[in-house]
């Protein structure tokens, strides 16, 4: 297996140009929204709105301004599939359509997916959705086809500020830690890495440098694996089955005993 590859996204240098979105759409031949008829969201400059089956990159525009708008800041973040080391989507997929590649990335094989949508409900980041053109669940592949040819993913290649950086996870982590240090020294003490270490789902192969709480960026502060409920849920169900079974046996046996007693009396 090749060394794990991924993205490090430094949100502090994102300028919201959406070149990553365009490059992703173009390379992956993703259809336009609403047949190309554009509608404005009314939510800052964000008209992409969300990650889904036809938007595998999404630049978020977060406006943090005072009420009189005299002070404030923009938070910009190019969101994408996290290619989790412990991937919730891969765990629940019943068809085996979701696989881990030799680059430690997570890819949905469109020809195997049947559109059951279990992965959509399982992903803690809300990354996956159905692509209406294929009728299958789709998301970022980290440009698996480009990686196989030794090329860089389209989005990071197109990013003009190097907000999105591609490389081996080991190298990216080192680079990201240095950047956090640099920001701290420059007075931006809020800078931290989200998903860079193993604590979060075994590590996110697409991790972020953020300067506010994860929730502000629409990221879960504590994402979990769906299987956390599997054992307890199964045991509680078994308990339910035992209780219903006992209720049934007691009621049918009691009736039997009463009938026998009545017959004896007769």
């Amino acid at each position: 297996m090749a060394e794990p590859m991924g993205f490090y996204t430094d949100t502090t240098v994102c300028i919201g140009c959406k070149a990553c979105e365009v490059a992703c759409k173009e390379w992956n031949q993703l259809p336009s929204t609403n047949g190309g008829v554009n509608t404005l969201s009314g939510d800052s400059y964000d008209n992409t709105r969300q990650l889904d089956g036809i938007h595998w990159r999404h630049v978020k525009f977060i406006e943090q301004f005072t009420e009189n708008r005299q002070d404030g800041r923009w938070l910009l973040m190019s969101d994408v599939c996290k290619h989790c080391v412990h991937a919730a989507c891969l765990e629940v997929c019943p068809t085996g359509a979701i696989v881990r590649t030799e680059f430690d990335t997570v890819v949905i094989q469109s020809d195997a997916c049947n559109g059951c949508r279990d992965c959509i409900a399982a992903c803690p980041f809300g990354v996956i959705d159905i692509n209406p053109a294929s009728g299958t669940a789709q998301k970022c592949t980290l440009c698996y086809d480009r990686l196989q040819s030794g090329m860089e993913p389209a989005c990071s290649k197109a990013c003009p500020t190097d907000s999105i950086q591609f490389g081996t996870i080991r190298e990216l982590r080192g680079r990201a830690e240095k950047r956090v240090e640099q920001l701290h020294q420059a007075g931006e003490k809020r800078a931290y890495l989200y998903g860079a270490d193993e604590k979060m789902l075994g590590g996110l192969n697409s991790f972020y440098l953020l300067v506010d709480k994860p929730e502000v960026y629409g990221l879960p502060p504590d994402p979990k694996m769906p299987s956390r409920n599997l054992t307890s849920g199964s045991w509680f169900s078994a308990l339910g089955a035992v209780l219903v079974g006992l209720i049934g046996v007691i009621n049918f046996r009691n009736r039997g005993a009463r009938l026998a007693a009545e017959e004896e009396r007769r």
């Binding site: 889904d52 919730a88 629940v92 019943p94 068809t95 085996g96 359509a97 094989q109 020809d111 195997a112 997916c113 049947n114 559109g115 059951c116 949508r117 279990d118 959509i120 409900a121 399982a122 992903c123 803690p124 980041f125 809300g126 990354v127 996956i128 159905i130 009728g135 299958t136 709480k213 929730e215 502000v216 629409g218 879960p220 502060p221 504590d222 994402p223 979990k224 769906p226 299987s227 409920n229 599997l230 307890s232 849920g233 199964s234 169900s237 308990l239 339910g240 089955a241 209780l243 219903v244 079974g245 209720i247 049934g248 046996v249 009621n251 049918f252 046996r253 009736r255 039997g256 009938l259």
Partner: protein, 300 residues
């Protein structure tokens, strides 16, 4: 957490709608009626045999309906077999840690047992003239083995759907471990209600019917307790039900649980219609319960 009661609020809805609600309902009926029929086979009296047969008659059509609902809910229905067979290697695909994978296999296996018992019940009830099928239902060893294994799978089919919802990252569904238990107990209550309803309409008077009715009330009490436990286990996520869905759930509790218990206690309230009304209320409550649980999370 910046106004979010749980980390599950950052996931996306899978768009599981009416077909899934109906599947949960019919799947519950399929598994529950089979389990009750098996219970009557094992612990009932010979005069209750028509009641057991009724359970098998309901179970098999319901499991067929369930399979069709699930298939049509897929965005690529013709790929339904990908749930069981790996499409590129043609090897069986079984992931015991994925409730949907395990559930797909259970549906298939339960479907086979349900079909066998259905055939046996038809033969015993003289609805088909096939002597070989007579051994599939009745006092014989083969029939008992089929009923025992089928009953276990039946209960699995009735309850796994709740575990499937819990093994996601969606609000409400994955914020409690009790949905499997709730769905399983509810499956027993709606199944008993449907069997009582159909038996009443046929004017059956076998003694097992009274036992089934009594059992149903006990199960409704248990279901009520489990639903309250679900509400407590949700913690701050309970606020997802402080809306119209919560109101509908309140209706389920009042009309689908407490009123049937009250009707059983005061049997003179509706006279001859008491049992029928109780069964109808339980069935409607069971359907609405699934509707609230599915749609209240889908809306977040």
């Amino acid at each position: 957490m910046n106004g979010f009661p749980s980390s599950t609020y950052f996931s996306a809805p899978p768009d599981w709608g009416w077909l899934i609600v109906l599947y949960f309902f019919f799947g519950g009926l399929a598994g529950g009626t089979y389990f009750l029929a098996a219970l009557i086979d094992f612990f009932g009296h010979p005069e209750d045999r028509p009641l057991a047969r009724l359970g098998y008659y309901i179970s098999f059509p319901c499991i067929i309906i369930s399979a069709l609902l699930l298939t049509f809910d897929l965005y690529r229905p013709l790929r339904f077999w990908h749930m069981l067979i790996e499409s590129n290697t043609y090897q069986p695909l079984f992931k015991p840690w994925s409730p949907m994978s395990l559930g797909s296999w259970s549906l298939l296996i339960f479907g086979i047992f349900s079909f066998l018992s259905f055939l046996g019940a038809l033969a015993e009830g003289d609805r088909i003239r096939w002597s070989a099928a007579r051994g599939l239902h009745g006092p014989g060893v083969l029939a008992k083995v089929i009923a025992f294994i089928g009953g276990i799978f039946g209960f699995y089919v009735a309850g796994y759907t709740g575990v499937l919802l819990a093994v996601t990252n969606r609000p409400v569904w994955s914020d409690t471990s009790l949905l499997g238990m709730l769905f399983l107990v509810s499956a027993a209550s709606i199944s008993a209600a449907l069997m009582i309803l159909l038996a009443e309409r046929s004017r059956w008077t076998m003694p097992g019917l009274a036992a089934l009715h009594r059992m149903d009330i006990w199960v409704i009490v248990l279901e009520f307790i489990v639903l309250i436990a679900v509400m407590f286990s949700l913690g701050p996520v309970f606020r997802a039900w402080l809306n119209l869905w919560g109101l509908l759930l309140f209706v389920v509790i009042i009309f689908g649980m407490l009123l049937p218990i009250a009707l059983n206690w005061r049997r003179d309230w509706l006279g001859n219609h008491n049992v029928t009304a109780t069964a109808l209320l339980i069935l409607a409550g069971g359907f609405l319960l699934r509707l609230v649980i599915v749609f209240s999370s889908e809306g977040i």
